[in-house]
Symmetry: C2
Subunit: 424 residues, 2 copies
């Protein structure tokens, strides 16, 4: 498909993929957990067997990337070698070992008229994944969708198209050898923007779209999509040091939340501190963070205590730095801290450090975020840390999935009702 | 607001309502079940006290409707009298008696590092209801949202604007006398189409939109909305008579599903019958349905048995008649019946009549619909019949809410995590 395609050709090709995916989804929904696990194992084997092919395809992407002058960081993200292919394959083996949520009875009730109503967990159907990042998303996302019984249509970015194709072909081929329905995992073979438009409009065949990538990509998908989109937006995470905080713990958690891995969505971006402990706490914190090369920015009251730091502007409060930068603000009360978080935060993960259980309870019940923590670093907002095994992302939406989104969140339910001639 | 508003004025007014609703939502989320029930009782009282005002406002709408030449059926739907106001008020009293789902612990796990993770049911936040139907939706929808802790922005149609305003004012006023936060229930005071655009774009303040009305309205909202939309589309419901059906029960259920209330979404629109029982079943069915004045349409094989009926076209299979019309088709197998339902149906409610448990199990696990029934009329697909007390509609979506959508489906969850200095 190297010739430029017309808009009609793209829409027609995507529609065909949609129909095929719907058929595959019906086949997938009927598979048992054991059958799906056999399929996953076969996929992992095929991925390992095709390591050379995949690395060779990746070399084409790397060549293209260098010609385009991509940054060395981006090229590194794109690079696949034998160990990265092995990491994908062992990721599949891990997912095979996870509990299959499909078929779980979520509720069961017998009504006075004799109807037995069972609410049963079932796959969603067909999930579209639109991504622009590393080629391993091709495998990681498709595998989680497959384990939860869903067909996928994957639309990766142009920079990784050769790698993505090689991975998708290996997964589908390996899976089919163990009974995977045809077209359960399909990769859109072209990367024109119109293919995103076509996917986003295809609500007949796509039950859900999950964009994986930057804010620009998510915004585009949201503005185009006719079907539900689950969004994984920014993490503007806060740590609030209450007047009754254990300051030693507050330092330890703050340093961890800011510096243990600053480039991820659950790292702290803003620290709030109660005025009663600001004088005792901020100098100690500044000392600890400077040892880790963190740039500090503060509100006026913070700068009365830490006189040598730069001011934090209004823009800072709404910025996800993903870097060794921290904005800091002195607040008058827990209520003020909560109001700041609910206004400027991204409703992802926020924490209170306190020994006062009432303050903790008030914070946990009033902060409108997916994860609210008491005396725990926001870095713990993570599917693996929660015991979910693997996650497709951290949803900043409130509908269907909130917070770490794993296998359970890739399912829906159906009511199955039996009776003996019940009429109304 | 009788002067025409500019686009900017509308967007600005809606944005202000959004901000106010968000503040109200924080207040609502902090209310206890008892506080919310007191508020609901006060609302019901105020609605009763304002009966005359509401009926007088309704008279303005009725006058306008007659001037516009609306049909008598539409005018009847619009009409409010003392007994219809009383029905709204007693609906509120009923909702007050329902269990409040907020605060339920959905899961609880202690991790090896000491983190205690509680998944707690919480309100969604701010819900937009866009509707065009009867003025009682103003009360019914707002009340269910309020009981589940959500603020609402209501945008009704122009034909009922005076009635809607009077009802919304009474609800908010009555509620405030018992502690309802300001602006918890807001009605958009103008009915320009641009107000729908403004609401649909306001993803910062609206967490969810529920359109209540015809397909055209839903399509419009879906194409405009940046936030999740839960859709209550058509019910193209099927009853499949298996080769092992008890034919007496099959007649009883089919007649009930078609004729007990033909104008609703869970009424049967298409009947499928296995070829082995078609000759025995169809003449009996035709006799029973003709007694109820049902118009019959059939596939070619049906018409070999019922020679005097009109043919069903391809279009019939995808039509929600909402009327005393039935399309019928003879199929070769349960698989064929399922394929027809999954292709032509609306994934709402479908039924198999059979005494063969294997056929029933196969049908229930392969039909991709919100509610699948065995030996039960599709008319039972209903929140009250399911024991939910009251429903806001029947979702034909798969994301977040599927099937009868009641209080539980108007909530989301939050992870509340406590620990003793846990870091990563």
């Amino acid at each position: 498909m190297s010739l430029p395609l017309t808009k009609e050709q793209i829409h027609s090709a995507i529609a065909t993929m949609g129909q095929q995916a719907r058929q595959a989804a019906y086949g997938l929904a009927a598979l048992s957990a054991d059958q799906k696990n056999d399929i996953l194992s076969a996929m992992a084997r095929e991925l390992r067997a095709e390591t050379e092919t995949i690395v060779a395809a990746n070399a084409l992407d790397l060549h293209q990337a260098r010609e385009k002058g991509l940054s060395s960081a981006m090229i590194d993200r794109l690079r696949l070698d034998a160990s990265r292919v092995e990491a994908m394959a062992s990721g599949i083996d891990q997912v095979a070992r996870l509990h299959d949520p499909c078929g779980e009875i979520l509720s069961e009730v017998k009504r006075p008229n004799g109807m037995l109503i069972r609410q049963v967990r079932v796959p969603i159907g067909v999930i579209g994944i639109i991504y622009e990042s590393r080629p391993n998303v091709t495998s990681d996302a498709a595998i989680l969708c497959l384990k939860s019984g869903n067909a996928t249509i994957l639309r990766g970015g142009s920079e990784a198209i050769h790698s993505n194709r090689a991975i998708a072909v290996a997964l589908q081929k390996g899976g089919e050898s163990a009974g995977l329905p045809a077209n359960a995992i399909q990769l859109v073979p072209f990367t024109d923007r119109e293919s995103v438009v076509a996917l986003a409009q295809m609500d007949r065949y796509l039950d859900l779209i999950i964009p994986r990538g930057g804010k620009g990509l998510i915004e585009t998908v949201v503005s185009l999509a006719r079907m539900p989109v689950i969004k994984h937006y920014d993490g503007i995470c806060h740590t609030y040091i209450d007047s009754s905080a254990n300051l030693e713990m507050a330092i330890r958690i703050s340093v961890n939340a800011k510096t243990q891995k600053p480039g991820v969505c659950n790292a702290m971006e803003t620290l709030l501190v109660h005025e009663h402990v600001a004088h005792a706490f901020l100098p100690q914190l500044a000392f600890a963070l400077r040892e880790k090369n963190v740039e500090l920015r503060g509100c006026e009251r913070t700068r009365e205590i830490l006189t040598d730091i730069i001011p934090a502007s209004e823009e800072d409060w709404g910025t996800e730095y993903l870097d060794l930068i921290l904005s800091m603000k002195v607040v008058n009360s827990t209520e003020d801290a909560i109001a700041h978080i609910n206004h400027f935060g991204s409703h992802h993960s926020d924490c209170i450090i306190t020994d006062d259980d009432n303050a903790a309870k008030y914070f946990l019940t009033h902060v409108d975020s997916a994860c609210v923590f008491h005396n725990v670093s926001t870095r713990l907002a993570d599917g693996e840390e929660f015991g979910f095994g693997a996650e497709i992302g951290i949803s900043t939406d409130k509908i269907h999935a909130r917070g770490p989104m794993a296998l359970r969140e890739l399912t829906t339910y159906q009511y199955r009702i039996t009776g003996d001639g019940v009429i109304k």
